[in-house]
């Protein structure tokens, strides 16, 4: 169905962009609301656990290097049960992430940059390029990621460098004042938002050039993204203090507004918005690709591209339905952690067990 292949570097870059995704925009606020001054410790803890989760993902990938998660499901559980579980994965997991992402773009543009534009116009404009990329196939997505990633990196570096003079370590002292529990609570959200969602990458694993190098490249991409996220969190805390970070909806946008070099370089926050508009774009494209490809594979179709337009219509409605307003939108985290965990941890674990018990029955086929 998918003839294209993406290179190892493209995959690494895509993993990094996926990790940065929407996390960079609002997760500092979310973890600061739990862990306050120790949010940066939560971020580091989450990064360590997250890298472990990445290794876990590749265990299943190594067992079935030539299959997407949907194909694995259909082989192990049969086309009926497997197809049904696949649709749950596609609509309960990928569509959930995708509609959350689209909603975030809409909310951000609506509140910060285009206040008078109807939110659906923002949705549609964003979806046009997403649908275009998905219809282009995985190669298009990979190459676009390769071209855009340096800009995201450059902007993130500039953001970090320019804000550095404003930061004061004293704002995060004393360390661990509230004990370890708030740190763990904060890190759970951070683990869910990029690292559990990364299970969406199961849909593109088989299309990467060399399957045996996926683990290394996946780790490198996610580690780079994760370290940058930790830096942004730390900078928000040391620049604004814990209270302002947790009350700001978009702390990194606030950081970008802080940038001021002399009299001539200021108000460049719209330029800095490139960071998360690009990274959210690639995260959404990857998920949307997974939705179309996954549905097509689950139903045994020969091509997935025709599904892109109808799915885009469904996605727009879901993005609106997710939460009535932005406050309710931020209150759904705890449930979100468990919902993504079911598909990111429990499902692959279950498949590994099934593969072990059925290993002999499937014979050589289990190698994919």
């Amino acid at each position: 169905m998918e003839q294209g292949r993406i290179g190892n570097l493209q995959f690494t870059v895509l993993a990094g962009l996926f990790t940065i995704g929407d996390t960079v925009l609002f997760v500092p606020a979310l973890i600061a609301s739990e862990a306050l001054k120790d949010a940066w410790l939560s971020a580091i803890l989450a990064l360590l656990v997250g890298l472990g989760i990445i290794v876990f993902y590749t265990v299943l990938q190594r067992k079935f290097p030539a299959m997407t998660l949907v194909e694995i499901l259909r082989q192990l559980l049969g086309s009926r049960v497997g197809g049904f579980v696949s649709l749950l994965y596609v609509f309960g997991f990928l569509l959930l992430i995708a509609s959350t992402l689209l909603r975030e773009v809409g909310d951000f543009m609506e509140t910060q940059i285009l206040p008078n534009t109807p939110i659906h116009v923002v949705y549609m404009l964003f979806l046009v390029i997403v649908v275009r990329a998905v219809r282009g196939g995985i190669e298009t997505i990979g190459r676009t990621a390769e071209i855009s990633a340096p800009w995201v990196m450059l902007m993130l570096m500039l953001l970090i460098l320019f804000v550095l003079p404003e930061s004061r370590i004293a704002r995060v002292e004393p360390v661990l004042y509230g004990g370890i529990k708030p740190v763990v609570r904060g890190s759970i959200i951070f683990i869910a938002v990029p690292f559990l969602e990364l299970a969406a990458m199961y849909m593109i694993f088989p299309y990467v050039e060399s399957a045996e190098r996926i683990r290394r490249n996946f780790l490198v991409g996610c580690a780079i993204g994760g370290v940058l996220l930790c830096l942004v969190t730390f900078l928000s805390l040391t620049t604004f203090g814990a209270v302002m970070t947790k009350d700001a909806i978009y702390p990194s946008y606030l950081l970008a507004k802080k940038i001021q070099l002399g009299e001539f370089l200021q108000r460049i926050e719209a330029l800095m918005a490139i960071i998360w508009l690009f990274s959210i774009y690639f995260k959404l494209t990857t998920c949307f690709y997974g939705i179309c490809l996954g549905t097509a594979q689950a139903m045994g179709l020969k091509e997935y591209k025709p599904l892109a337009f109808p799915m885009a219509m469904i996605l727009i409605v879901f993005s609106d339905l997710i939460a009535p307003n932005i406050i309710a939108f931020f209150a759904i985290n705890q449930v979100y952690v468990l919902a993504t965990g079911t598909f990111a941890i429990a499902l692959p674990l279950f498949l590994l067990l099934v593969a072990r018990f059925r290993g002999s029955a499937l014979g050589g086929k289990s190698g994919g």
Partner: protein, 77 residues
């Protein structure tokens, strides 16, 4: 009203774009599934444009995971 018209217009546009190619290539199953999802999409868009209250996906998640989530996070308080 505009939302309803736009939903039907977009649906027609998509169908006109995809269907001839699918039918010419003898992809009957693909065409059927495409129409099915297009129908779901148009229905959702029209209902949403008419401000019919639709259930939020998070309400279902809340029902399924809510009690467990409360218990887990209560352990960390």
């Amino acid at each position: 009203m505009w939302g309803v018209l736009a939903s039907f217009g977009a649906g027609l546009l998509f169908a006109g774009y995809e269907l001839p190619r699918l039918l010419r290539a003898q992809r009957k199953k693909e065409a059927v599934i495409f129409l099915m999802f297009l129908a779901i999409g148009i229905t959702l868009c029209v209902l949403h444009a008419l401000a019919v209250p639709l259930p939020s996906p998070y309400q279902w998640l809340e029902v399924i995971y809510g009690p467990l989530a409360e218990r887990i996070f209560a352990m960390l308080q």
